[in-house]
Amino acid sequence: MLTGLPFLANKPGVKALGLVPLAFFALLFYWPLAHVISLGLRGGWLGDLASKKSVDLAWFTAWQATLSMLIAVGISFPTAYLLYHRKFWGQGLLRTIVAIPFVLPSIVVAIGFFSLRKSANLDGLVGHSNLIFIIAANVFMNFGIAVRIIGSNWATLDSSLDDAASLDGAGPLRTFWSISLPQLLPAIAAASSLIFLYGATNFGIVLVLGGGQIKTIETEIYFSATQSLDLHRAASLVLIQSLLTIVSLSLTFKLSARNLHFFSHELPANKSALSRKDFSVQILSLPVIGLLIVAPLLGILLHAFRSDNGWTLRNFQHLIGFGARNVLSISVLDAAVNSCRNAVLVLLISLFVGLLICNVAIKFSPRSLSRRIFEALFQIPVGISTVVLGLGYLTTFGGGIFPLRSSWLVTPIAQSILAIPLVVRILLPALLAVGPDLIESAQTDRATPGDIWWLIQIPIVKSAIYLAAGYAVIISIGDFAAANFLSYGDQATLPNVLFQLISRPGAQNYGMAMAASALFVALTASVIFLTERREGSTL
C-alpha cells in the first residue's frame, strides 16, 4: 500500500528537510511565544488572572464573540440556502458580495462602521452605540463565513429529499427543521467555533470602535504593554487569551475534520432553480444582504467622495500627502508601497516554508503520531492571537543577540508566521489528493522524486498554490495587530496609516481614511470576483 510517498519513507534525507521549517518556527514563533509566556508567569500572574478586572475582560471578550457568532450564524441560513442550494441568475455576483467583508482588512471594516456611526450620529449614547457597532462589524465580517461553510455543505445535500417532503405537504420551515438542519449540524458547529475565534481576536475593530471604553483581552494586552508599560500584566493576559483561542481553534479543527471544506472544492450541479416557494426565503435573505453587507460597503464608497461641501475627488488627491497637520510620518501612498513589498515577501516566505512543510508531512504515514505532531507544530500559530505574537516579537527581538525588531523585515516575517498555517491547510490536502497510481506509474518509469515533485505534484496543485498565495497576500495586507506593535515611522503599513488617520481628528484625515478604504473595497471586490469566475470558489 502506498502511504504518501513510501519510496522515500526510508530516505532520512527528506524528513531531515523538515528541520528547516522547524528551525524557522522555533526561532520566529516558539521562542518569542515562550518568552512572552515566561514573562507572564514571572510576577503575580495568578493574582492578576483572578482579579475581577481580568475576569470581567475574559467574560466580556467571550460574551461579545458569542453574541456575534449567534447572530452571524442565525441569520445566515436563508442566504446559505439561496446561494448554494438553489441556482439563479446573479448568484455569482451575490456570492462575491457576501464574501467581500471576510477578506477586507479588519481596520477597513472598523473604519466603515466608524463612518456609519458618525453619520447615524449616535455619539450621544457612547457606551451602547460602541458595543452595538462592534457587534455589527463582527457580524458583517463573519456572515460570509457562515454562509460559505453552511452553504457549501447544504449544496451537497440532495434537494430531491426536501422536494419530496414538500410534495408530502411539509412547509419550508418544517422541511428545514426536520430534514436539512440535522444534516447541517456539523457545518453549523464548525462555522460557529470559527466565528467565535475571529470574534475573540477582533483587535482592530474593538480598538477603533471601542473608543478606549470597550475593551477585550486583546486590546487590554495592547494597552497594558504600550500605555501602562505593564508587560507582566500584558503577558498574564496572554495566558487567558491563548487559552480562549486554542480551545476554540481545536474545537474548529475537531468539528471540521469530517468532510467540511473551508477552502476550495467542487460544488455539485444538481441544484434546482428558484421557485415561487422560495419567496419567503428571499424575503429573509435579500434584506439581510442589503442592509448588513451592501449598505456598509456602499457607505464606505460614498463617504470617500464626500466632503463637508459636497461631492469631491479631493480625498483621493490627499492620499499622496501627510494628512491634516501632518499627522502621518509617511504618505498613504508610501505606506501602500510598504504593504505591497511586505505582501510579496510574505508570499515568497510562506509558500517556500509551507511547501517544505507539506513535502515533508506527506512522507510520514498518514495516521502516525509523528505526522500529527509535525503538522500540529505548524498549526499552533492559528490559535495564538496576532497581538500576542506582536508583543512576543517586541519583547524578544528588541535587542540582544537577534535584534530583528529594528529591521523592516520584522513585520513581513511575523506576517509569514500568520500565513504559513493557512498555506499548509490549503496545500496539504491538495498534495495528498494526487493519486498514488500516478506516482506509482511515474516510479515505474524511473522518475526521480524530484521529477515527481516538479512534474506531477506541483502542476496538479497549481490552483491550490494560487489560492494559498492569495491568502498569504490577504493576511499580509490586512494585518493590523502585528504591524501595530512592530512597524514604525517610514515602515508603517497601510493599516497602520489608516488607523492613525481615523483616530486623529480633522475632516481631511477622515476623508483620506475613507478614500483609502474605498480603494481597498474596490480592489478586494474585483479580486474575489475574478477568482470566483476562475475557480468557482473563494473561501
Binding site: 502621518l328 516566505i349 517556500f352 523592516w408 514604525y488 515611522g489
Partner: protein, 337 residues
C-alpha cells in the same frame, strides 16, 4: 528513454534554478536582518516627536542644508505614548533624537534610561481649560471660572479631557488636581467629574479638534482641557476669539528634547536639538504649535497678548512625578476603569 532524460535534465535545471532562488532569498534575508540593525546611513538622522509637532518642509530643508544631515520625522502619538514607545524599544531605538517629552513624563524617561545626556527645555505653555464663548452665550449660561465648577450639575456632560495615561495634558491636569485638592481631596473630585459626565479622550488632538465645540471639529463639548494660548488660534472674522481660558487649575508644562541612548547617529541628534533651540526654529513655536519658546528674546505674536492670559498661580509642577505617577494613575484608573 532518451527523450525523457532530456526532459529530466531540463527539469533538473528548473529545479536547480528554483532552489537557487529560494536559497538566495534565504541568504538575503539573514544578511539584511543581521546588517540592518546598524544600517541607516550616517547622514540620516531621525527625530521622533509627539503628534502635535509641526516642522515645515522649508525648515527641514534649512536644517539639512545647514547641517549636511538628512532629517527624517516620526510621529509616535501623544507625549505619553511617545515615552512608552521609546521605553519599549530602548535597546534599538526607533530614532536618534526625541522632542516632546514634557515635565510630566521626563522622570519616567530618565528612570527608564532612554535618554543620553540631559533633557533640554525647548518650549513651555500652560495647560488650562478653554471654553466656547459662543456656546455659553447662546445658552445664556455663565461660563465656569474655576475647575471646581466642572463638577456642578449645571455643567454636566459639557467637559472633554485627555487620558493621563497617554496624554501629557491629561497627566498635567491630574497633577494640578492633586496639588490643588490635596492627597485626600483629589479622588473625590475625580469621582464627581466622572459622575458629571466628563469625556476622556486618548489625546489632545482628538479632544480639541473633534470633541470641542469651539474649534474646527465643532464637536458637542463646550469645555476642553487645552492650553492657555489656544484662544489666540480661534480668532474669528469679527476680530474676537471664540474661546477663552479658565485661569484656575492650570499647570505649567515644559517640553523637552534629548538625544536617545543607543542612537545610531548621536552627533546628528545633537545637531537636530541645536536646531530646535535656534532662533530660526524657536520663532515657529507660537505660530504653529501655540506654545511659548524657551529662547529669550523670541518675538511673541501680537494676537497672543490680546487673547491669552497667563495664570497667576499654577499647580502641580513641583510634584515628584517619578515617585507618584504609578500610584496616581492606578488610583485614577480605579475611578475611570
Amino acid at each position: 528513454m532518451k527523450k525523457k532524460s532530456r526532459q529530466q535534465r531540463r527539469n533538473q535545471r528548473t529545479k536547480n534554478t528554483a532552489i537557487g532562488l529560494v536559497f538566495a532569498l534565504g541568504v538575503a534575508l539573514v544578511i539584511s536582518v543581521v546588517s540592518s540593525s546598524g544600517t541607516s546611513k550616517v547622514t540620516d538622522v531621525t527625530l521622533v516627536t509627539h503628534d502635535s509637532f509641526v516642522m515645515s518642509p522649508e525648515l527641514i530643508a534649512a536644517f539639512n542644508a545647514k547641517s549636511g544631515y538628512n532629517l527624517k520625522l516620526i510621529k509616535a502619538g501623544d507625549a505619553g505614548s511617545l515615552t512608552n514607545r521609546l521605553i519599549l524599544t530602548k535597546n534599538s531605538p526607533i530614532a536618534d533624537a526625541v522632542y516632546g517629552i514634557d515635565n510630566t513624563f521626563s522622570s519616567l524617561a530618565t528612570s527608564a534610561g532612554i535618554i543620553s545626556g540631559k533633557f533640554q527645555a525647548t518650549d513651555y505653555g500652560y495647560v488650562c481649560f478653554n471654553y466656547d464663548k459662543n456656546w455659553f452665550a447662546e445658552k445664556k449660561m455663565s461660563a465656569p471660572t474655576s475647575i471646581n465648577d466642572l463638577v456642578l450639575p449645571a455643567y454636566k456632560n459639557l467637559t472633554v479631557i485627555e487620558n493621563p495615561k497617554t496624554s501629557s495634558t491629561g497627566l498635567s491636569f491630574l497633577a494640578a488636581t492633586i496639588d490643588k485638592f490635596g492627597a485626600s481631596g483629589w479622588k473625590p473630585y475625580w469621582s464627581s467629574l466622572k459622575s458629571n459626565g466628563v469625556k476622556v479622550d486618548d489625546g489632545w488632538e482628538t479632544a480639541y479638534y473633534t470633541d470641542f465645540s469651539g474649534s474646527s471639529g465643532k464637536g458637542s463639548y463646550p469645555i476642553v482641557l487645552s492650553y492657555g494660548s489656544s484662544p489666540a488660534d480661534e480668532v474669528r472674522d469679527n476680530g474676537q476669539s471664540q474661546t477663552a481660558s479658565i485661569l484656575d487649575g492650570c499647570f505649567r508644562q515644559t517640553e523637552y528634547s534629548a538625544v536617545l541612548k543607543n542612537a545610531h547617529n548621536p552627533k546628528g541628534a545633537q545637531a537636530v536639538i541645536d536646531f530646535l533651540l535656534s532662533s530660526e526654529f524657536q520663532n515657529t513655536f507660537p505660530t504653529t504649535m501655540y506654545v511659548y519658546p524657551t529662547l529669550s528674546g523670541t518675538p511673541i505674536p501680537a494676537t497672543w497678548s490680546a487673547f491669552t492670559q497667563i495664570p497667576t498661580k499654577t499647580y502641580g509642577d513641583k510634584l515628584d512625578f517619578n515617585a507618584g505617577r504609578k500610584g496616581w494613575l492606578a488610583d485614577w484608573s480605579a475611578i475611570f476603569g
